[in-house]
């Protein structure tokens, strides 16, 4: 039995050196396989860079594996295979995502100007250039604002309940259903408000109806992120305050919340960014409008996501341009919210005990 061990050991111990491919091999392979991909692509008359890219990626993966296997042996070859796969994954994913951003910026900026931001589609012939998204921007701001007003207090208080008070069956149930709520598709939230608010209570389509659906989507996100942040507050702080005889509710308001406020704000802003892009409930509940309606409680409104959908549906170049421009506005809005939120998180991070 131990013979085998010794043999393998002795054989292995003979040298630390391994035949290695030179360091520039991967780069050479990238160039080579790109050339092969382009070559095959052109030879077969494939117009799309997609196919060429796929061929190049395949050639790269296979070539690095075979080269590795021949020169360096099986284990190193598998290592190289994994490395090249991971790099290809990265490229595969980054290309469409960058293309999305590029297309939106490139095509959106053609009609995005002050006029676009300041005018509605009222009386605009949809196949002609002109018009704007002012009414949609107003709609988005009002609907998201109302949703935030509904969702944040409930979400915040629920999180406080779960972290500061929650023990027992009720807390368990709430935790479980917050999880369930996180998974609700936005269209289902929309259908619920539709059945309850519009069909049964017989209210009309309005920005507020949409806001309620958005609030349902927002609540679990706020609860989750606030919970995380409250849990980060060290118990010592609570105990120190309680030991001074400060009542629990004041401890929470004056000690716990201020400590976690940065993280909570970040969470709320990310949640706002998330629901600002929701279009499905808007289709069902706000119904869309071409003119300006400043009252979210009465009558149909538009919103940026809805506006993009509507302009896309119109199906002509002028409307496509408007759709891209609105998409750019929406992305900018969401991205700014994200960046600011992350900025706050970073800025506040050391104080919240991380």
């Amino acid at each position: 039995m131990s013979n085998a061990v010794v043999d393998k050991g002795a054989h292995r111990a003979s040298s630390l050196k391994q035949a290695r491919l030179p360091r520039w091999t991967p780069y050479a392979l990238v160039v080579g396989s790109a050339a092969v991909g382009a070559g095959i692509g052109t030879a077969l008359g494939m117009g799309s860079p997609f196919q060429m890219g796929l061929i190049a990626a395949l050639v790269f993966i296979i070539a690095s594996y075979i080269l590795g296997a021949v020169v360096e042996g099986g284990r190193q070859a598998r290592d190289r295979l994994a490395t090249s796969l991971v790099w290809v994954c990265f490229l595969l994913a980054v290309i469409p995502l960058l293309s999305l951003l590029w297309e939106t910026i490139d095509r959106g900026r053609t009609v995005l100007d002050g006029y676009f931001l300041g005018h509605s589609m009222e009386g605009v012939q949809t196949i002609l250039p002109g018009g704007g998204a002012y009414h949609a921007i107003i709609g988005t701001l009002e609907q998201v604002g109302l949703a935030t007003l509904i969702a944040v207090p409930i979400g915040l208080l629920t999180a406080i309940y779960l972290v500061e008070y929650g023990r027992g069956q009720l807390a368990k149930a709430v935790t479980f259903f917050v999880d369930v709520m996180t998974g609700i598709p936005s269209i289902v939230a929309g259908l619920f408000i539709l059945s309850f608010w519009i069909i049964i209570l017989d209210f009309g389509y309005s920005g507020f109806a949409g806001a309620m659906a958005l609030a349902i989507l927002m609540m679990p996100i706020v609860v989750r992120s606030t919970e995380e942040m409250l849990k980060l507050v060290p118990d010592e702080l609570r105990e120190a305050s309680l030991a001074l005889g400060v009542p629990k509710w004041r401890t929470i308001l004056k000690v716990v919340l201020p400590t976690a406020i940065g993280g909570i704000t970040t969470g709320v802003m990310l949640a706002v960014a998330r629901i600002a892009g929701e279009s499905a409930p808007i289709v069902l509940l706000v119904f869309g409008a071409t003119g300006i309606n400043n009252n979210p409680f009465e009558g149909a409104q538009s919103s940026l996501p809805y506006y993009i959908y509507e302009q896309w549906q119109l199906g002509n170049d002028a409307s496509f341009n408007r759709a891209w421009a609105a998409a750019l506005v929406l992305i900018a809005f969401v991205m700014i919210l994200n960046l600011v939120a992350r900025g706050i998180a970073r800025w506040k991070a050391p104080k919240s005990g991380r």
């Binding site: 951003l101 309940y161 289902v188 891209w324």
Partner: protein, 329 residues
């Protein structure tokens, strides 16, 4: 704030001289009531969602002259109504499966790229950009999918048809590539950021000492990943995938913009046609009458139940994994 500085905790044990100020006690009660009330409100909303959807769905299904689960058409304008979800269920599941098959391996690859392969100077910005992309609204993906992705896929599909058309499921008759497969690709791109972020976070938490243990045994980088990173991250990958699957199943507007729907189950995944629950609701809503809206609500209820099952399954898997590693740790 002198009034508050009084030990509330000892008030319970109540030595006679220590009196709790009413502000403290009443405040505590009100605050507890408010926060507990919010928790309860949340439960009530969930119950209401289930109740109202079920109620309207029951009305619709009782008026349905066809089998709701197996019928292939969606006629809610005529009387009697005949509608069924067979095509929608097929389309939803198939497009989501395609999305998962593409997105999960790629997302795990990117997560590994960020956590273990990329040079640091690249890893941080890549991680940041991926996180930001998770925030891009779905309608923007839809617009990009319809106006950019679809035209660029026809070539690829023709190519698939040339070499793999004999399989039937990858044949392609030409025309705009607004098919379930395209929807799958678009959904994959959409859920990629979220699956990547969650997996990356898990990979980052792999204790250094487990990786060093593998390294010290003479493991290559891939072997380190296989021995210590992937086993540690498995439940995280599963929960990330389920999160992505939940999004894919319920995605509405992106699908509605890209898909050219019909009520047939096409053999080929590349040919236009089919539909998903969410897309069908969004596309038909404006033309639907009162009964039609109830029928759509019924299909939405099915979608709701499916997503609940998926999330439940994910949670069970994670819980079981936790138990295992809990006894092990």
């Amino acid at each position: 704030m002198k009034t508050d500085i009084e030990p509330t905790s000892s008030a319970a044990g109540s030595p006679p001289k220590v009196r709790t100020r009413s502000t403290g006690r009443a405040g505590d009660k009100i605050f507890l009531a408010l926060s507990r009330g919010s928790g309860i409100a949340l439960l009530v909303i969930m119950a209401a969602i289930a109740a109202f959807l079920t109620y309207r769905a029951a009305i619709a299904i009782s008026k349905d002259e066809a089998n709701f689960l197996t019928y292939f058409e969606w006629n809610t304008g005529s009387s009697p109504m005949r509608f069924g979800i067979a095509v929608l269920a097929y389309g939803t599941i198939v497009s989501s499966i395609i999305a998962m098959v593409i997105a999960v391996p790629v997302a795990v690859g990117i997560a590994l790229f960020i956590s273990h392969y990329a040079p640091r100077r690249l890893a941080t910005p890549v991680a940041y950009v991926i996180d930001l992309l998770a925030a891009v609204p779905s309608i923007v993906y839809g617009l990009w999918g319809a106006l950019f992705l679809v035209p660029h896929l026809t070539g690829l599909y023709t190519w698939f048809d040339d070499y793999l058309g004999w399989t039937g499921i990858l044949s392609y008759q030409g025309g705009a590539a607004r098919s379930l497969f395209t929807v799958g690709i678009l959904l994959a791109i959409m859920i990629l950021p979220i699956v990547t972020s969650v997996s990356r976070e898990v990979f980052r938490q792999v204790p250094k000492m487990h990786e060093e243990a593998a390294l010290a045994l003479g493991a290559t980088r891939w072997e380190v990943i296989r021995m210590s990173v992937l086993p540690f991250g498995r439940s995280g990958i599963i929960s990330a995938s389920m999160l992505g699957l939940g999004r894919a199943l319920g995605e509405t507007m992106a699908v509605a913009t890209v898909l050219s729907p019909n009520f047939l189950i096409e053999t080929s995944l590349l040919d236009p046609g089919g539909g998903t629950f969410a897309q069908n609701i969004a596309s038909r809503f404006k033309e639907a009458g009162n009964d039609g809206r109830d029928a759509l609500i019924a299909s939405g209820l099915v979608l709701f139940v499916i997503t609940l099952l998926v999330n439940g399954a994910a949670r069970m898997i994670i819980a079981r994994r936790k138990e295992y590693s809990g006894t092990a740790a």
